[in-house]
C-alpha cells in the first residue's frame, strides 16, 4: 500500500509540476478571495484583524474544493481512471497517494496565504507551534475528505456541483476548529487552542481511516 501511495503521489505531483494548475490558477484564486473579503468588509481594519483566521480558513476550504476536483479531473480527462482501476494498484494506496499530493499543494498554498493575511489583514504572527500544528492537521483532514468525496463524484454527471455540496458541510468542523486554533495562537481569543488540535486530529483520523478502508468501493461505485 505505501509503495503504491508513493507512486501515485509522485505521479500526481509530477503532473502538477508540469501543468502548474495549482500554481497558476488555484493560488491566484485564493489570493483574490482574500481581496474580496477585504472589499466585503469594507477595509474595516480592526474587523479584518479579528476575522483574519476565519477568512484564511475559508479561502483554504474553497481552494481545497478546487484541488480535490483537479485531482480527479486529471484522471477523468482521458479516461485514465480505467487504467488506474486496472493497474493493480491497491485502492488504499491510490487514496493515500492522492491525499498526499492534494495535501502538499494545500500546504504550499497555505504558506502563501499566510503571507497574504499578514499583508492584507495586518495579521501579526504569534504562536507558531500551534499555527503550524493545526494547519498540518487541518490540511490532512481537508485533503483526505476531498479525495474521498472526489472519487465519488468523479464518475457522475453532476460532478462539478455535487462535490462542493458534499464536501462543504463535511469540512465545516475543520473550518471551525482551525479558525479557533488560529485565533488562540494569534492571541485573538482567550480559549485553549490546543484542544481544538485534538478535534482536528479526530477529523483527520476519521477521514484518513475511512478513505483507506473504503476507497476501493468508492472508486467503483460510480
Amino acid at each position: 500500500m505505501w509503495r503504491d501511495a508513493v507512486l501515485v503521489a509522485a505521479k500526481d505531483l509530477r503532473i502538477e509540476a508540469r501543468a502548474k494548475v495549482a500554481l497558476n490558477q488555484v493560488v491566484p484564486y485564493a489570493l483574490v478571495v482574500l481581496l474580496l473579503f477585504g472589499f466585503a468588509f469594507d477595509q474595516d481594519r480592526p474587523l479584518l484583524v479579528q476575522a483574519a483566521p476565519g477568512l484564511f480558513w475559508l479561502a483554504v476550504l474553497f481552494s481545497g474544493l478546487l484541488a480535490a476536483q483537479r485531482s480527479f479531473s486529471i484522471e477523468a480527462s482521458d479516461a485514465a481512471i480505467d487504467g488506474l482501476r486496472l493497474s493493480g494498484l491497491e485502492p488504499a494506496g491510490i487514496f493515500l497517494g492522492k491525499a498526499v499530493a492534494v495535501g502538499a499543494q494545500l500546504v504550499a498554498l497555505e504558506v502563501l496565504l499566510t503571507g497574504g493575511i499578514v499583508v492584507l489583514f495586518h495579521t501579526e504572527l504569534t504562536g507558531a507551534g500551534l499555527l503550524v500544528a493545526s494547519a498540518l492537521l487541518s490540511t490532512a483532514g481537508v485533503a483526505a475528505a476531498g479525495v474521498a468525496y472526489g472519487a465519488l463524484s468523479m464518475g457522475l454527471r453532476v460532478r462539478e456541483t455535487l462535490l462542493p455540496l458534499l464536501l462543504a458541510p463535511v469540512l465545516a468542523p475543520v473550518v471551525l476548529a482551525a479558525t479557533e486554533a488560529w485565533r488562540a495562537a494569534l492571541r485573538l481569543s482567550t480559549g485553549d487552542g490546543w484542544r481544538w488540535l485534538g478535534l482536528l486530529g479526530c477529523f483527520a483520523a476519521i477521514y484518513l481511516a475511512g478513505g483507506v478502508l473504503s476507497f476501493g468501493a468508492l472508486m467503483e461505485g460510480t
Binding site: R18, D78, L86, S87, G88
Partner: protein
C-alpha cells in the same frame, strides 16, 4: 483447449438501458476474436465486462478462470484494456506514462524502453508530453502501456483508430506475436480486413447480444453458424481435438 472467456446470457445495464441484453461468448486461450457490429451493438460493453469494469446485472461471466465481479482485483492485473480513449496522462511523457503503468504492475522498469520501441516510438517522441502527440502516436503510446504490462488477455476497442498503414501492420504483427506467446486477444473494430489478416474468428454483435460467430458448443440446441462465417485462415482450433470447456 481452455477457455479464456465465457459469457452466458450476460446482461449489463447503464441505468435502465441494457447495454448487453443476454450475450453469449466463448473465447479460447491463444485465439484472436474480432468483434464486429454496428455502433451501439454492445462491443465496448462486452469488452468492459470482460475487463471487470462493468458489473453484470444478470447472467454469468468467467474470465481467465475468475469471476470478474468477485475477483476483480486479481483479474484486472492480468487483463489489458484499450478503450476508445487512451487513458494517458496528457502532461506526462510517453516514457513516464508507461513507467507508471509498469511500476504499478510491479514489473521491472526495463520493460519500458522495449515496449516503446516495439510500437515504433522513436527517442524524440518518448519525452514529449503525450498531450502534444498526434492521435495515432497517442494510440501507440497507449498500446505500449498495454504491452509493457504483459496481460494474458488483450481487450482492444478500435485499436486501429488513427493509425496509418505502416502502424496498422505493426499492430497486426504485434498481435500475432503475443497470441503465439500464449496471450488471448479480443478486439472490436470496424475495419474489414482485420479478421483475415489476423487469422481471427469473427463474432458479430447486434443489439446487445451475439448473433453470429458462436462456437459450436455454445449453441444450446440450435444449429451452429460458426462454419458459415469462418474466414480464410480460420481459427486453427477447428482442426484440432475437441476443446475442454
Amino acid at each position: 483447449m481452455v477457455l479464456s472467456v465465457r459469457l452466458r446470457s450476460a446482461v449489463a445495464l447503464a441505468g435502465r438501458y441494457p447495454l448487453l441484453a443476454g450475450a453469449d461468448l466463448d473465447v479460447r486461450t491463444g485465439e484472436i476474436v474480432v468483434l464486429r457490429g454496428a455502433n451501439g451493438a454492445g462491443k465496448t460493453s462486452a469488452l468492459r465486462v470482460m475487463a471487470g469494469l462493468l458489473p453484470l446485472a444478470a447472467g454469468q461471466a468467467s474470465v481467465l478462470g475468475l469471476d470478474p465481479m468477485a475477483d476483480a482485483r486479481a483479474l484486472r492485473r492480468r487483463v489489458g484494456l484499450l478503450g476508445h480513449r487512451n487513458g494517458l496522462y496528457d502532461d506526462l511523457s510517453a516514457e513516464e506514462n508507461v513507467y507508471f503503468a509498469v511500476r504499478a504492475a510491479r514489473l521491472p522498469k526495463q520493460a519500458v524502453p522495449s515496449a516503446l520501441e516495439r510500437l515504433g516510438l522513436r527517442e524524440g517522441l518518448r519525452t514529449l508530453p503525450t498531450g502534444r502527440l498526434s492521435a495515432g502516436q497517442r494510440r501507440r503510446v497507449a498500446l505500449a502501456v498495454l504491452l509493457a504490462r504483459r496481460p494474458e488477455l488483450w481487450l482492444l476497442d478500435e485499436p486501429y483508430a488513427g493509425l496509418d498503414a505502416e502502424h496498422r501492420e505493426l499492430l497486426d504483427k504485434l498481435l500475432r506475436e503475443v497470441t503465439e506467446a500464449g496471450a488471448t486477444v479480443v478486439l472490436a473494430t470496424h475495419e474489414d480486413r482485420t479478421a483475415e489478416v489476423l487469422a481471427g474468428r469473427v463474432v458479430i454483435m447486434a443489439a446487445g447480444s451475439v448473433v453470429d460467430g458462436l462456437l459450436p458448443d455454445e449453441a444450446t440446441g440450435l444449429p451452429s453458424r460458426a462454419a458459415d462465417v469462418a474466414q480464410p485462415g480460420a481459427c486453427r482450433a477447428s482442426l484440432e481435438a475437441p476443446f475442454v470447456a
